[in-house]
Amino acid sequence: MKDFKVLNTRAPRIDGPAKAVGKAKYADDLTMPGALYAAILQSPLAHAKILNIDTSKARKLPGVKAVVTSKEAGLVRYGVSPARYDETLFAHEKVRYVGDEIAAVAAVDLATAQEAVELIKVDYEELPAVFDMFEAMKEGAPQIHDEFPGNMNAEVHQEFGDTDAALAQCDLVVDHTFLNKRQDAAFIEPHSCLAVFDLDGRLTLHTSTQVPHYVMRTVAMVLGIPVGNVRVVKPYVGGGFGPKCEATPLEMSAALLARTTGKPVKMNYTREQVFLHSRARHQFYAEMSLGVMKDGTMVALRNKAVLDGGAYTSFGIATVYYSGSLLGGPYKLKAMKYDGYRVYTNKPTCGAQRGHGGVAHRAAFEQLLDMTAEKLGIDPVEMRLKNIMATGDVTINELDMSSLGMKECVEAVRDGSDWKNKKGKLPKGKGIGMACGFFVSGAGYPIYRSDTYHSTVVIKVSEDGGVATVLTGSAEIGQGSDTTMAMIAAETLGIPLSHVRVVSGDTDLSVDLGAYSSRQTLMTGHATKEAAEQIRNAIASYLAEEMDCSPESISFSDGIVKFDGQPGNFQHIRVQYIKEHRGWTDPPSGEYLTFREAARLAYLKGGTLVGTGKYKPPRLGGSYKGAAVGTSPAYGCSAQVVEVSVDMETGEITVDNMTDAHDCGLAINRTLVEGQMQGSLSMGLGECLFEEVKFDSRGRVLNPSLGEYRIPTALDMPNVKSIIVESSEPHGPYGAKEVGEGAIMPTIPAILNAISDATGIRINELPVTSERLFMALKNKENA
């Protein structure tokens, strides 16, 4: 079957030891001699005109080196999607949420910078504010952006087939509504950065980001620096999950202050500021109708979404498209209609978070599917299997499922959880539920319209042939991409993993769009593979010349080189290598030529051995408006079964068991794949049961702390039975595709379906706190 030496193993991650001993450097661990510390002034009001900003007292405070406002920063508009650049670094005419940035101060230390921030006097004229997305859509609601009447940030209307006609022909149409709550990514590392200019006006920005490439472009654009003069370096990152996918005011302020003062500037967000900056999961309202035939065949889906976007756009346009497009699969439909609305409100801006745009609507749909199955008297697993897509299917919105082990996933969790002996047979208060989902394996298009490669990679072999260094701009943020690239390079070059080094996260090294949309394994992986192949081919061709054989007869594996499977007559190469390394204590030995000797030979013949690889997806998707969002070279999918216990007297929910199967194509590293699966489920569990960013009546976050914004602890999360399903993805490197986001898709609905099984109650609003469930139980009792 598989004949890999490095891939598909459980190799320990290459950054593990550095992280285990505390030597791995994160942005806040970096210091520079003479560095200044900076702090940001943020609006205390949700919606107000700025009448005047008086920075004179702050400037006079001893130790203050610079104060910048929109006057100094300029008014270059930026954002994520060029179609909606609606932010400026600092608010100038008005502020639009509690936390909107107004000014920044650099000083000799943080205490001074913070003191100076408090000395900046801003005169406001408070404006009526709107915090609820439905209120914001009403006529007469306060207008947040003049250019967007009705606070309508983005609207999507798509239809495939004739949905109304299809629904009319169905035996049964079931309706459902669903409301999730605004979430926070709650990565443990708050944003941090350090900006420094060199004497030539070149900026180096060390920052905690998922996307060095986009940060480079945005900072260059906003500060008016040629892109080539901005270098973004990502040290180790303490989690991102989406909100670190865009340039932040922190990064731009630090860069601006560094330029203003000529000194390195360091800045951090506090935990509270992480909540204020947000860019995390939107609040979604879903309204859908599913039409089916008596035998359980799905026919048509009508889907409406309203998204509370907060004060600015961020990723929001993509988000509102995803809420529709990601319901195109994994079930066959004859018609699908989608209407999506993203609305501005006077709250922190929402953006992308794990399972971008898809999670809430997937939750709604998978619940609706169970409700429908129940009405039809069909087992939810059977209903899913009946409608499921398979490899080669194309969704109604033209997404190509070039590999799809969906059926295998469903069967794996059904059997792995003993579904057949549990469903419908558990005592009251205990329940079992299941759900499915799929997700892109890399966005088909960059965020800005461009023919750019999505990834380029350079691999350079050391002169002695002993070490291959992978140079990439891709972002290791904990998911293990450095290890993945090292494994792909090692496998391709035919050398042990320990002979590969990875230097990543630096825009000077290569182009890479970064860690979002679950793209790096596939895209950076392709580029890495291609770069390694180039090196292997170069070595083979030099060797063929030297050995007078054909390059095709040469094979590389386990650090040794074979000629037609034989050692070959290579002694003269070894003798030369050993002569060149007189005094060394590790001469190449053994009956075969080593990679080291072969690579050294190639260096002697051709100079430093470098391979480059590149990747961009082919043109993908349909030609309808918004067809780009949801396209991907490949799709990962997963199914989950969850078992819960409900305390019928208090409403408390305990998740007892979770069984998860994910099709990630070839699992490059089985341990890392399981880690992504288990982490996704944990985040999904938190979002389902505990998490909600709450606001008071004036738009201030009520719970901007990890004490009051509750993510699961070790006592809340059960063990997960993790089953890896491996289809072979034709568009993935060695058949690999995503796992980081698809795995969260089924979690929330599987829990909700289990709760319904345990209690007979459908909860259509998150989070399912003990109170929410208890009150629902009570209402049912009274009804």
Binding site: L110, Q114, T650, L689, R710, T713, F774, M775, K778
Partner: protein
């Protein structure tokens, strides 16, 4: 997050600590575990110009059994120490259980019983068990000392019967009678790291393993501006044989004594209904434990 500036004092005797307190009074805050004070100072809720650490005052961190008929717990004993203490688990279980539910392990290793009591948060973990154990708090100042019963100590959210020049030096508890059992139940969203939505401590004494209830004490937290004893529910129990039906009635009576608030952690309605359930459960647990009491 930065702490504001303050002057730091670290007295090495109780007398020095008390002298400092009487000298600095309202301008000073006592630093015990710091898990509450330092948080409030970082959040700029408290801005004391002086901070008096009692960590090096000898004796405040001791748990001293008093000849088998009680125990004295120093004000600076950590919640972790209480939760792990054998005697407290054996004879003063509600307190040990509550201490084990306070925050998370690292918080428990710093947070002190004195701090948890003096801060007088309505949802705090340790007041209800102190109330059912009829604990007495010893307060000392440079000019004297006095004892306050746990049930008298709490005045309102953040307010307790302690003067700025006083220090809570110890908590004294009499050993409950034979055939006594106790319990502590806390309702929060997560299984740990929680602020209670409702918490209940109960202590039940039986005449004999099969006998009637001779003493019953129930205290509730997070249901009123201060933790409260549910006297009416207690009265209902005394002299009765323990039954599920009795516990249920006690639960319903308990609700009547409460005036919980609605906040972002939970509504008044839900808290009330949970009082009923948790009182019932805590009584049941306490009775089970009373029945298996061992000399």
């Amino acid at each position: 997050m930065l702490l504001p500036k303050f002057e730091y004092h670290e007295p090495s005797t109780l007398q020095d600590a008390l002298n400092l307190l009487s000298e600095l009074g309202g301008n000073a805050k006592v630093l015990a575990g710091g898990t509450d004070l330092l948080v409030r100072m970082k959040q700029k809720i408290d801005r004391p110009s002086h901070v008096i650490s009692i960590a090096r005052v000898p004796g405040l961190d001791a748990i001293i059994p008093r000849n088998g008929h009680g125990v004295t717990i120093g004000g600076a004993v950590s919640a972790g120490a209480i939760s792990r203490h054998e005697l407290l688990n054996d004879r003063f279980l509600p307190l040990a259980l509550a201490a084990g539910r306070l925050g998370a392990p690292m918080i428990r290793n710093r947070a002190t019983i004195g701090g948890n009591l003096v801060n007088a948060r309505p949802a705090a973990d340790l007041p209800p068990p102190c109330m059912v154990l009829n604990a007495e708090f010893k307060l000392k100042s440079a000019s004297g000392e006095r004892e306050v019963a746990a049930v008298e100590f709490f005045r309102g959210p953040g307010e307790a019967d302690i003067e700025p020049n006083e220090l809570l030096v110890s908590i004294n508890v009499e050993t409950p009678m034979p055939w006594t059992g106790g319990s502590y139940i806390k309702l929060g969203a997560r299984k740990t790291l929680e602020i209670s939505m409702v918490n209940v401590a109960a202590l039940i004494t039986l005449q004999s393993p099969d006998g009637v209830i001779t003493d019953a004490r129930i205290a509730l937290g997070a249901v009123a501006p201060t933790p409260v004893r549910a006297y009416a529910a207690e009265e209902l129990l005394i002299g009765e044989k323990p039954t599920d039906e009795l516990f249920e009635r006690a639960g319903m009576t308990g609700v009547g004594l409460c005036s919980p608030i609605t906040d972002h952690r939970g509504t008044m309605e839900y808290r009330c209904m949970m009082i009923e359930v948790l009182v019932k459960r805590s009584l049941k647990q306490a009775v089970e434990r009373a029945k298996s009491w061992k000399p």
